[in-house]
Symmetry: D2
Subunit: 463 residues, 4 copies
């Protein structure tokens, strides 16, 4: 017995056509016409678009930061995700200084296992590199299906690693088939500029972007690409925000470097004018790298249209305005960095990307799902609509406009940076491995059924 979705339009990263889709068990088994078997459940999806379930390759659920933790844990975060059309998330498990990667992995399994409404995998963020950790990297790839490792060039004295570590890590990753992900901002620059700002009594959120200039991002992006070229290893730039950084990536791609870049809705839809918000409200946009100029926004859209960017993630890292963000009320440098977004990504990209024609519907699918699956070892199990793939399907009703508001969203955080933004269309149903988790926009499964995803390696470029 299966399920047949009847009357919809199948949209992949390349195709778009009217057809029915049949699910059996956890997988898609056929796409076409006249697919129904006796006993099948038939679900009418006339006029709807069927997208591969969204994949958000960049979240921070239940992440301790100083004395607090991010507002969303795996339960609230993935519930919000799936209601927003995302069926897989990749969270950044984080090694704390002195910890082994094994310990960090176990720690993250404790946070996630049995509590996730979406399927999930882990990247491993490494903050304490040494030769033993290098060995563990290979183990995680082989045994744990953790095939991507993040390094920070920012956050001096806490998360930042030096270039020697980074170069070693790229070399090790190349050897064991892992992909190195990098937060590209020059942490020394930020540290010094924050010091200068504080010394001058510049304490409001408006100083956050001024102490993290585009040049610091461009520099770090350029640097890590140089290291990757020397190591002949692939590299993935997380949350690229600026025209300058995009130009650096483009030049490297043209030279044949295997470099990939992610951007986020906040960098496409919001800009530096947000820091002028009244009172302390600018704190809602204190995230790193910070929001940039309107011209940077246009350049990012251009990078998506041209195919020089690879993915749209959220960097969902939610802190409450009251109780978290206000730790920095008198000193912007104490504001926890980050903002929520896991629930709103698909809708925003559809509304502000596809509807006005900034990207095609195929590109929408590519950036919100397919490419992440390919780069992070989940394809073709995830990231497409095809026989044999997991039946992770977002049924999108292009009709029905709404207005985003913290009142109606499900993220466990007390604000959204998109308050008042229009959304065109809406999530109607969501299927996760064949099971209907969302029905008519409402959570239909009371229990979290997400499973852990052991991932494959990124194929290295030949020749």
């Amino acid at each position: 017995m299966g399920i047949v979705l009847v009357g919809g339009r199948i949209v992949t990263a390349v195709d778009s056509y009217q057809a029915d889709l049949r699910i059996e068990g956890e997988q898609i088994v056929a796409i076409g016409y006249d697919l129904e078997h006796p006993g099948d459940e038939r679900i009418l999806v006339d006029g709807c678009l069927l997208f591969p379930g969204g994949i958000d390759p960049h979240t921070h659920f239940d992440l301790p930061v100083g004395n607090i933790s991010t507002a969303d844990d795996f339960e609230s975060g993935t519930k919000a995700a799936i209601l927003g059309g995302t069926t897989t998330i990749l969270d950044y498990a984080t090694q704390f200084r002195g910890e082994t990667l094994k310990a960090a992995t176990l720690n993250w399994h404790r946070k996630a296992d049995g509590r996730s409404y979406t399927d999930y995998g882990f990247h491993m963020a490494v903050t304490d590199w040494n030769m033993q950790v290098a060995q563990e990297m290979s183990m995680l790839v082989l045994k744990e299906g953790i095939t991507s490792f993040k390094f920070y060039m920012a956050y001096k004295h806490t998360l930042q690693v030096d270039d020697e570590s980074l170069l070693q890590a790229l070399g090790q990753a190349k050897e064991c088939g892992a992909l190195v992900c990098v937060h590209c901002e020059n942490g020394d620059v930020v540290y010094e500029l924050v010091r200068q700002a504080r010394a001058k009594g510049q304490t409001t959120p408006a100083y956050h972007p001024l102490t993290r200039p585009v040049t610091a991002e461009k520099e770090a992006t350029s640097r890590v690409i140089a290291l990757a070229q020397i190591a002949q290893a692939p590299v993935y730039i997380v949350h690229l925000t600026s025209e300058d950084a995009l130009q650096v990536v483009t030049a490297a791609k043209l030279r044949g470097t295997q470099v990939y870049a992610e951007t986020c809705p906040q960098y496409l839809l919001l800009n530096e004018t947000c820091y002028q918000a009244e009172g302390f409200n600018g704190a809602k946009y204190v995230l790193s790298p910070p929001l940039r100029s309107r011209q940077d926004q246009e350049s990012l859209w251009s990078g998506l249209r041209t195919g020089l960017l690879d993915t749209i993630a959220t960097d969902h890292c939610a802190f409450n305005f009251v109780g978290h963000k206000d730790l920095g009320l008198t000193d912007f440098s104490l504001i926890p960095n980050g903002a929520p977004g896991v629930e709103t990504r698909m809708g925003l990209m559809y509304t502000y990307g596809v509807v006005p024609g900034k990207i095609s519907m195929n590109q929408f699918v590519n950036y919100t799902s397919t490419q992440a699956a390919k780069l992070f070892g989940l394809f073709p199990r995830k990231g497409t609509l095809a026989p044999g793939s997991d039946a992770d399907i977002t049924v999108w009703d292009p009709n029905g406009d709404s207005v985003l508001s913290v009142e109606t969203l499900h993220q466990a955080v007390d604000y959204t940076p998109y308050e008042g933004f229009q959304q065109n269309g809406q999530v109607k149903h969501v299927f996760l491995r064949g099971r209907q988790v969302v029905r008519e926009g409402q959570l239909h499964e009371s229990q979290p059924r997400g499973v852990y995803l052991s991932r494959k390696s990124l194929p290295q470029k030949k020749g």
Copy 2:
């Protein structure tokens, strides 16, 4: 009653998975498992790859050039094409000076109708632009399904149009939804350099590339993009050959210009050393633009890998070595320009692109079929494997190596520039709109069944 292809691997521009495919009438009706209906024919394709039938968007069949015509007409050319895995060709119908576009269209229908083994459409090459021709352009788009128009910046005093015409044509194309295709070489430069060469008694084929330098291509590419930017019209660069021209295209794409670029197997696989061939053999490679350096070859592969090139066409324009090429025995400028390639394109790109990992299998499909369908108004009828699409399918057997030779090819021309080249894998079967035209590598249909394709317009970029 249908046909089910069983046990193959479906490959599109994004997907690659094991599944069966069912055809009914002219179309694909389902892809998946357990698709067979009673009475269906079952064809086992275990271990084979199923590609969307190849689309070659650049051929010159039965084209008069001076007192001769190209060696392949529609019958021989499309027979060779389909045996090589290509199911659709787009030929350049050509307006001769003084002729109306209507006359040129009729002329080309006379050449092609009832004689083509593949489906076919026409671009219209315009050599005599004026306001009346501008009106006809709109008519051809609306009434004839001819939605792309070619202009030559080369061939002074015969085909070349001036910038004023080109700018007007781009404006008209924008208005009526047509796509302008351009041969980018500065014809004035070539004319003068040929004059200088002849004045110095430089008459051998080795002088062909020296009188058509990369700079002349780069210049014209840069110029037509400037014109397209002024007209805010899309433009398609035919047969791009060089790193310099690719850089020009890339910069324009990043600026948001709707520019597309085609390259050809000869520019990827052959280079300027061919002109050093013994005796008059260099004449076999006299085509325009000419073959370039090894570094240019690498840059083109890099452009394909990065997605900055859009299509791989052949510019099939065959002349016999004996009887045609030798018209220029004592003066290279009299050698008819062009070379054959319609039969060998798919095999060469598979062998030298996919096998060594220079492009992925998905990119192979994209460049040999999908993108051409999208840019030239045939998608999703052509260019993909999906329910509802025409059942144009190339079943590729990855096993079985062979060596290319004019002895075994079906093109009606007395040489191939790829004589002695290895091919990995081979065309096993080809289906054209559900009908098996090639079986086990042999022509299975004695009659040409190709139909004329009325094409849609290219969607213009919004906002």
Copy 3:
């Protein structure tokens, strides 16, 4: 008996030092201390700057344009020039269609000889190229000391030459040691855009810049550089106006191309907002290429600071607002193109370049005098302050501010585009070949004493 200028500061393109300067006859004979000979005239120039007399390498005096001629002839134009600190001008003698270059040369000598207050030379503007004219080019270099030849890529159907002519001319110039100067705008584009504008009834001066977009300049600049690269000949871009064109020039210089570029005060100090002037006043700024954006202005200053631009000329081409410009009262395309500037160049560049530190004082000298002398075969006779050089000296008093106005200027035209502009400092004295032509800012010589300058060839780059 000589003249000793005592107490001033000598400024060349590289030096700046306090010293006296002694003149004997037409030349500088010594610079240093204690130079006075018995009988010498001593002129105190305490606190003043001594610059090499300005060289304006781009004027159009007494040029017929349609039924009218430019407002300034050689007498009024050079009188204005020398009062503004310019001691040498290079005027564009112009071959009219059908005319020989010899005839054009004679024609220009008739206009200039005996009527010029500055020394003067001719470039030759060629509008009708053929093989006989090519021969004449060599003759002019050898016999007439005319070593630079201008070609127009703009002004279709009147002055414009095609690329074949341009390439031949570059080749011929290379052979005979001449320098080709080019007006870089794509005339076909302008012609078509003007046609479109007129067809839509767009007739005011505001449409002038819209029909001559930056892209048309960038394109032509890029094209002529390509031609120069093919011919391996040097080329000089007249009146470069935009960031885009500067980038093209810069890239070519880095590739080793011998390309030089001139800009003008109007492109540094005025911008496109001028075309919004009330009523028909925008016509005062109808010159070609047109004024550009503020960002272009900044880029040109940056090009001067970096040394990627070579000269600052005026393109002085004066038309009266009443009687000339108003020919285009109902159709901007009939407004004669050009504006005056020969008198104001030195003061404006000092005031808006040197005073605010946008260029150094040495660069000021380099761009207003030295480089022009070097490129156009006058160095070291002109363009520097050194023993053996002509005693062409502009004594500049850095004190004394004034306001520019048509009321006080000496140009024979009824407006200045710089009306109301501040000037810091002023011309105190001017010496031409040792003779004091301007004293205390007033004309001191009643007769024009300028001589014709037979010029040397530009040294071609070796190896």
Copy 4:
């Protein structure tokens, strides 16, 4: 009573003319004709070129490196310098870890005072940055005339400073009018690559360049320019070696960044093939950054021709092949880095730059003298031939070819990397502040008469 040099050709960075030059005391007092006073000494220099005495802004005399010191101390080094036509050197005084800048200054005065044949100044190389050192920087500028400070991005664990220090230093330099000089190679990269090479038993000199790739230089150059942009401070790149780094510098200059770059004869005349020298001879070329490819050499010449490079220094840092270099006989990483060049710079640049036309004679003067004087606060006292300037004059006889050899050079080191190189022309006389130190190519003064030069600040760019 003075000295008159009669019959020579005066060459400055802009001029070149026949004239006499009169010296009185330490200075030039007049240039011109008929300058002789009663009692003057007259020296005939017919047919000779008079250049401003060379300034070498990058030497390492008497520098301790590990347990050894560089082979040339101030006495031998400056004697060689002045015999080679260089009258001023700027040596890198070096702060050792834990030392104050004051101590380092005193230390260097002890090495140099009374022992130098040329005039000399100090840069200060800072290896241990902190807030107290920042204060000292300002003191040195004000009190000691040390206005340039060097930082190393290379040499991890010994000389290398981190980006935070560098950014602070740039800020401090901006405030006190100092110029920051930077050795641009990513020391982390080098450290790791050396580790890898040693781990693989790669111990010969051939591995030196492989562990210091161009990418490491490009990266560091790009990074320090980013830091300079953030600090809005000028920066000077020492010994730039590669096309990649030059492109980075060029892009920054065009953006208006006040960045200057130095190259050296070894990067223009030698290349990576030197490391293939037989036996251990490659060690002679172990310097950092290492020698590069032929294409890099061409790019550097192009940078000089275009004016995008600023100075030609030597980085003279001599170690004997026997006794010094052989410390690394079994491990290339122990070879002391550096090579001699202070004596051969002027002759090589004349021979391989001016004679074949790669740079003009004016550029030769500019790069070997004038620009260094301007950038390092010595102009116009040094760096030009003008009244009022120090009479530092190199009289160059363009006739007389010779062959360079360690046998005939005066540097106190047992080899020259230019053994067997031709030299066209020769140093005839050298004057230092009016005193003839070299006569007919021989040392004429037995005592070192060089004085310490207290330098001015670099003018900061306005607006």
